[in-house]
Amino acid sequence: MFKTKYLACMLGLGAMLAGPAFAQAPGVTDDSIKIGIFGPMTGSAALFGKAVFGVEAVYKDVNDHGGINGRKIDIVREDTGCDPTRGTAAVKKLISQSQVFAINGGLCSGVVMAVKEEVAKAGVPFVIIGAASSAISDPMMPNLFHPVATTSNVAKTMIDFAMTREGTKKIAVVSHSDDWGKSNRDPAVDHLKEAYGLDPVLDLTMERGSSDATPQILKIRNADADFVVLMMYPAEVAIFLRDAYKYGLKVPVLAPQSISLKDTRERVGNDAAVENLYVFYPYAHPTDSPEMEKWGKLINKYYPDERVESFSYLGMSGALAVVEALKAAGPDLTRQKFMDALNDLRDFDSGISSAPITFTPEDHAGIKGGAMATLDDGKVTVMKKWQDK
């Protein structure tokens, strides 16, 4: 009898001591939730790393307001340099060594594609910050959530915008020939063919690191294109626009969400050279509007030296969706409950993204729709069709 009682006591004590460790998910303690963040903080694509500070600012703000269900968010950041090999190592470290509860990361599609299998195997919830390739969320992976306008969505918006101008027939495409360039160019060319029965009048390349766009500009001028679609990184877009101005090419130029209007104007150093530039705009309001400025101030609250620009906001909607789902998952947090909460997210309007976020168990590409923006007298103007100008 004594033995039985003793055993029961010991088992009870053991359960009390070991209980929390067994009950709680990896990366979760009574007072913290460990979230892994990764992005290109160094290297040639480090400009995109600005979005990491936006994401971290959201989490730090949540912590300063008491956390979620009594837990503070513990951020673990890794740098990928936009290199798939480094990215894979970083994600393995987050999963195995840091043992994070979830990952909110990825701004380079190449890196995200490289780490997808690793994350799928580990079953860690993975919310993308800004990598836009459609292949990230199509086909759907149960633990990967994509609260970003995908390249298909961006390309469709750009082409549809061009076609709203009466008489548009000739669209020239200039892209990088790397994976990123292809993942942006291909959906645009496909949509042009499928929706309008057109092929690009020119399909050109301009590689990363190029310092001149003369051959591309002269070809476009000779082809008498109605629009130019640029699927390129910020530095090369600036060089293209500078050369377009130099050679007197006055064709409207469309660029994806990786391009910031104001930064491009600053880089080109000439207002006239960017007056024909229209970019996919991932946000609900102009970046200099009061609605967006409050988010910029939030970033600068935690990172006073950080220069806030268009990229800085890219992952903030996703981070707010993560916070929302963590709240909905309740105090007995598990990865499955968190993913269920994300799957239940409908029309989540962060006030930042151009369209609300909706996830379903069948579709994890969370943002559908978008708009274009241009500079009008130095101010960002958001527009849905050509006639809105």
């Binding site: 480090a46 050109l204 001149d212 051959p215 530095a235 060089i239 050679y247 150093g269």
Partner: protein
Amino acid sequence: MFVQLILSGVAQGSIYALVALGMTALFRATTIVNFGHGEFFMGGAFVLYVMINVVGLPFLPGALLAIVVMFLVGMTIERVLIRPMGLAPHIALAMMTVAFSFLFRGIARAFWGREVLPMPAVFSFPPIDVAGVIITTQDLLITGMTLFFVVLFFIFFQRTNLGRIAQAASANPRGASLVGINVNLFHGTMWGVAAGLGAIAGILVAPITLLYPDMGALILIKAFAAMTLGGFGNLGGAVVGGLLIGILEQLSGGYLSTALIDIFAYLVIIAVLLIRPAGLFGIRESQRV
């Protein structure tokens, strides 16, 4: 279109030539292939950026100071990193240049990693339209500076006693020191000159290419292609090689495919090494056995 592509090719080629010129001058003086020259190019541009935007200097004094700073950086590299290696094999010296190249790039990334920065043009005149052919003052400046420096170096190496001493010191450093030449000082000065020349190229080109820590990496490949095509160690060859690559890139992009522009330099390196390893103006080395 043809004339425009040629002119644009000359402007692009002048950039490659200017970078190749600095590498060639150092190679002739020290026989070291400097894989870190792209970082002299990047360093010059960033030092000028700091002079203008942080110190608040106007362009010209800022540029002169940036060249002086990079000259001192070059001399310091020779004194601290190269000289202690003494008569180490060429491959070891080349690896040292690779190492400091990545070190410099890393330092630049630490400060400006997330930025692609603009640099104001040296002149802000509008492009000149001559019968439909566009020329910019920046292009003219780069081409002019390239010509100026190639003439300057040609005169230095071929027509001055100091230049002849320089060549003697690189051909036989021990013999040169036995006859009283301060080889170390000479090598340090040539590293400084090469870094200064890299800085001049960076300062002239930055308004066109924009500033970012990796800006020297691609230009280095083009400069290598120019040196290979012109003949390693030949100053005129480096310039002709640079101009030819610039022009052929533009013509292939304009008339064949824009995809060829970026791989052209690699095609040149492969073709020259297979067909004429000594390059256009190099002298084939033969060894009597």
